[in-house]
């Protein structure tokens, strides 16, 4: 009798907990994607390499800037295409969006000044490192979340 009661209460508890988890959380995030991860790592390297050359006249780096802009557009579009991936897309736009982003400020500043001073270059490099590390960290945090 007691055993039957215990089983019954376990089932009721289980059902209530399942319902509770379903109602309260309803959290849904995208799965880990190795292409998204690779996009962030690749662009981090390319952007930091470009910033390292920002003491040169910007006219010497126009092709490189356009190339990185194209890669960034592809990476943002890819992030947008993944289901439940709004948080990572927001990070991409904050770092590499065409407007109102770290990238937009950097290109505007470099265009205006032609060449960036060492301390400005260093600050920019640090900012991009943290931004890309944030994207990479979020992407790798998804590992193990496969259900």
């Amino acid at each position: 009798m007691l055993s039957a009661f215990s089983k019954c209460s376990s089932i009721i508890f289980g059902v209530l907990l399942l319902a509770n988890v379903h109602i309260v959380s309803c959290v849904s995030t995208s799965r880990y994607n190795s292409i998204a991860h690779q996009n962030a790592v690749n662009l981090k390297i390319q952007v930091l390499h470009l910033v390292a050359n920002a003491d040169q006249d910007i006219t010497r780096q126009v092709d490189n800037i356009e190339h990185i802009r194209s890669l960034a557009d592809q990476a943002i579009s890819f992030a947008e295409s993944l289901p439940d991936n709004q948080d990572v897309t927001k990070l991409w736009l904050a770092a590499m969006g065409e407007q109102e982003s770290m990238w937009a400020d950097f290109v505007t500043k470099w265009t205006k000044d032609s060449q960036l001073k060492p301390i400005v270059k260093k600050g920019t490099s640090k900012a991009f490192t943290e931004a890309f590390d944030a994207i990479i960290k979020v992407e790798t945090s998804k590992i193990g979340n496969d259900q």
Binding site: S9, V21, S25, I119, G123, G144
Partner: protein, 100 residues
């Protein structure tokens, strides 16, 4: 069929682990942000006072720092959601596993 107390204990320990991990991430990120700001800001102000950088340079650096802080905030929010979903899945596994 497992006893209800076992399930409660397991779910409790999953939630405890989740909260400890979240607190750890929050403390670590806050510390990193404070360290970053306290190391950069004095250097920039000194360079500005010495005339090594212009007002526009300083404004630009501060704006990039503001963007970095916002990005780190968004990162924490995103990681919290991912960890919460992992917790949700672990609880589901525990409960379903105990019923079946």
């Amino acid at each position: 069929m497992r006893h209800i107390d076992e399930i409660k204990d397991e779910v409790g320990s999953l939630v405890k682990g989740f909260l400890e991990k979240e607190m750890g991430i929050l403390i670590e990120n806050t510390q990193e942000a404070l360290d970053s700001f306290s190391s950069d800001l004095p250097l920039w102000i000194e360079a500005f006072q010495k005339g090594e950088i212009s007002q526009d340079d300083l404004d630009y650096l501060l704006k990039q720092k503001e963007r970095t802080i916002n990005i780190n905030g968004q990162k924490l929010e995103a990681i919290s959601k991912i960890e919460l979903e992992k917790l949700q899945n672990s609880i589901l596994d525990t409960v379903v596993g105990s019923i079946i």
